[in-house]
Amino acid sequence: MVLFTIFCPIVAAVLILVGAPARKTALAASVLTFAAALFLFVSLDHASGDFQHVRSFSISPEWRLNFATGVDSLSAIMVLLASIVTLAAVWFTGRIEKFENAFYACLLLISAGAIGAFASIDLFFFYAFHELALIPTFLLIGIWGNGNRVAAAWKITIYLAIGSFILLIGLILLYQSFPLPSRSFDIRVLRTAAAMGQIAPDAQRHVYLLLLIGFGILISLFPFHTWAPEAYAAAPAPAAMLHAGVLKKFGLYGLLRLAIPMLPEGARHWATLLVVLLLGNIIYVGLVTIAQKRLDWMLGYSSVMHMGYIFLGIASFGVLGVTGAVVLMFAHGLSIALLFGIAGELRRRTGTLAFDELGGLARVMPFAGLAFGIGAFAAIGLPGFANFAGEIMIFFGAFRNGWEIGQFHIFQIATVLALWGVVLSTVYMLRAYRITFMGSIREQWQKLPDLSPMLRVPVTLLVAALLCFGFCPQFFVRSVAPAFGTFLSANSDTQTSSQVAMRRLQTAKPGREHAPQKRGYSMR
């Protein structure tokens, strides 16, 4: 089943390149992938916290390198996200004038790369699958992009190439920092070995820094973020949806998958640095977002800004915060895909996304206005959407669960500052909504058609997923939290505030099964 979700898009891409009808094949493949991913997620035994549906093929016994795939709760969620966004992106693709087949093939290859990375248990393939998306992204932006596509395509490609090679060095160092008998590319083996304390603290610090920079470039961590808005503004809408919604989550997934179980000491050592950088994401990039004059750039910057929250959850290193990060990753992927999809439709109709040329569009495109509004509210983090659940868990987790450095509780300060970020995002999102959809409408936009009924399907799908997990986040929490509980408690004997905060959240939502007791991470 896991293999099917990876290879279904690849096979479809090859078929399309050979000459199968592009749109039909792509849609069929993405529907099948979505069904498979949904089945995987539902059928998974979430309580076990271990990889399931594991298939392994030996590649190099000498290096203990296998092509091993499997999913646990975390990766099943990410695969689900990838398949939903792929389906929506393929659906949103309209008529393509030149090389239609290649366009769909590139989309499917990006999707396959992301799913493959999420579903790999093997470090090598985890890395390699992500790189599979690099060339399709380059081509998508270069051939079908708009605006300053040439510069944007070069920038994203070179940034991502350097970032991933830094990451490669980090992964090699991680592999080598294990003693010889437990050296393996298998994440499960490495995780067990790390739990027994086989990585020296010194090595953890080095590896964590490399991973942070490598993944950080891929996630657009401040100050490595400049490629992202430019690329998303230039990319065709489906490519931006896939990249901002799914592919960028690869870096966060990597931090959750590798750094949290294996490098607790490294995480503690670099926490201050990470907190400063993520505040750069939230505050600095937030302010930059407000200053944008084009909708596509605004969305690009907002997606960079929201990475800051997810980083805060990861940096807090407690069950609650990390679980919140996972929920927000999922939610942000859906909401940003929705926003980019609508923005792409606007561009297709009006030919521009500059704020001073738009206005009053809700009058002629009520459905698009509604959908964009929902996406904007979700991105702000209004209760009822999955984003809210993620953000509030992150804030509680970071506030209660971080540790003091000196007499200085850096996480509390960071949380307070990050909360102001919510205000910033309200400002820019509502402003964008007002300028684009409210106010007086220009003469030339009077005849614009609304989204066709066909296009309402992917919008409904994305909104439904946002609402579904917004009202029942415990479904996520219950499946993800056990997986992290084992690692985040490994370094501490004392029960800490994360648990208290988590229980609070649970009592706030009555009628829930009591989650298994978890221990938080504390350095006190």
Partner: protein, 474 residues
């Protein structure tokens, strides 16, 4: 069973026979000679799998103290044979150009020599990888060099080719002089020319190895010329650009590989000396930086590949600094398939349009197959996963991280970023740009099979490298 020296003799005989046919049978289509060469080399390649191993080189006497047939040597003999076969396929595609620049009574005058000379160079390379004595290394190297003098300036009515030939002749002769001088110093210091006995002599000499070190520096100059390491790389861009394209491919793959094998063998006794390692460290660093930075602004694809060949020498030298022989060899194999793939496409496309990168505009529309082949070649040279080039870089960086060569790793990562830029420039031309010419570019079936095989090999090595790793296990 077959003993190893028979292989080289067979290649030489094959070359002679082709030369004889060229001289005495004027009527036949000369491209048949290339076919004959390919088939002959294929048979010899098949025979290499049945070679009996030679006696252990450390205490061998007589002929076997010059010549060894260990696994490394056999592997690289196969490597040389395979490269020569692909080059002969390219020669068939390139035949019209050769005829254009060669005056003669018949339209194909001299083409037979263009087939025979790579065979002699191949024999030289095969001797070279087996050589374990400085004298033999020198002789084999000269056999290769002299064949290349002729090959590089083969289309002699073309002024740029002539310039390339002159440059190559003068600088190569100079490097040969350095080699002999270095050998003389080493012989003077240790009294040995056999590499294994040299190691023992050096170990016994204790601290005083200054004279031998001076000698190895001269030898390094000569080998640096062969592998295109900075600061001995000046000849590379002009010669690569000016030489007939099959020769360029041959030069950049086979000549470089042989240079690295000799480097590995020669450095083995000297690698314990910290001075040698430091020296190679500096050369590697310079080569990486120069090759990649100079490649950035290139607009001519052949010249770009020349700089890329310098850049790849830099990555290989990282492997030499760490002295991880298997990483170097895997990288060489990966380099072989991806470079030959790029050159094979280049030869076909360049005859229709030209060698500039802008001549590749819109190739994806004209000939999707050629464009895809070039895409795989470029992506692999840049080092994307699931291609041979990535695994080559992976092993090299693995060794460097293991030895904590931090400076090399940092520079390596940055230059990989440069590489993405200049290799993707070609991809960009093929896929983004459009061109007024839309007629398909014809590809004959032999080239189509060869290119397909090289594509499959590039991806195969990137996904399943174990066969090569097994073949290298000592």
């Amino acid at each position: 069973m077959i003993t190893a020296p028979l292989l080289e003799i067979a290649v030489l005989v094959l070359g002679m026979v082709i030369l004889m046919i060229e001289a005495f049978a004027a009527k036949i289509d000369k491209r048949l000679l290339a076919f004959a060469g390919i088939i002959g080399l294929a048979i010899i390649l098949f025979a290499t799998f049945f070679v009996v191993p030679s006696p252990s080189p450390s205490n061998a006497t007589g002929f076997w103290s010059f010549y060894t047939a260990d696994r490394l040597a056999i592997f690289f003999k196969q490597f040389a044979l395979l490269t020569t076969m692909v080059v002969l396929v390219m020669v068939i595609d390139y035949a019209p150009v050769v005829s254009k620049w060669l005056p003669g009574a018949a339209p194909q005058t001299g083409l037979g020599e263009f087939v025979a000379l790579p065979l002699f160079a191949c024999a030289g390379l095969m001797y070279l990888v087996s050589a374990i004595d400085f004298i033999f290394i020198f002789v084999a190297l000269e056999l290769v060099s002299i064949s290349f003098y002729v090959l590089v300036s083969f289309t002699r009515r073309n002024p740029t080719t002539l310039e390339a030939g002159t440059k190559y002749l003068i600088l190569s002769a100079l490097s040969a002089a350095f080699l002999v001088y270095g050998i003389a110093w080493i012989f003077g210091a240790t009294g040995q020319t056999n590499l294994y006995r040299l190691a023992a002599a050096l170990a016994n000499a204790g601290g005083d190895s200054a004279a031998a070190l001076l000698g190895i520096v001269f030898v390094l100059v000569a080998l640096g010329f062969k592998i295109a390491a900075v600061p001995f790389q000046i000849w590379v861009p002009d010669v690569y650009q000016g030489a007939p394209t099959p020769v360029t491919a041959y030069l950049s793959v086979a000549s470089k590989a042989a240079g690295f094998v000799v480097l590995i063998r020669v450095l083995q006794p000297f690698m314990n000396l910290p001075q040698t390692e430091r020296l190679i460290f500096v050369i590697a660093l310079l080569t990486l930086i120069y090759g990649n930075l100079a490649a950035l602004p290139q607009t001519n694809l052949k010249r770009l590949l020349a700089y890329s060949s310098i850049a790849h020498a830099g990555y290989l030298l990282i492997g030499v600094v760490c002295f991880d022989v298997r990483a170097i060899i895997f990288y060489l194999v990966a380099y072989l398939v991806m470079t030959l793939l790029s050159f094979a496409v280049l030869i076909i496309v360049a005859q229709k349009t030209g060698e500039e990168i802008s001549d590749f505009d819109g190739l994806a529309k004209r000939s999707p197959f050629l464009a895809f082949a070039m895409l795989i070649g470029m992506v692999s040279l840049a080092g994307l996963p699931f291609t041979a080039g990535f695994l080559g870089k992976f092993y090299i960086f693995y060794a460097a991280v293991l030895q904590r060569e931090i400076a090399l790793v940092v520079v390596g990562v940055i230059t990989v970023g440069c590489g993405f830029y200049y290799y993707l420039k070609v991809v960009r031309a093929m896929y983004w740009q459009s061109d007024s010419r839309t007629d398909a570019i014809p590809v004959n079936s032999l080239s189509r099979v060869t290119i397909s095989a090289l594509i499959v090999a590039t991806i195969w090595l990137g996904v399943y490298p174990q066969p090569i790793l097994d073949a290298l296990k000592h």
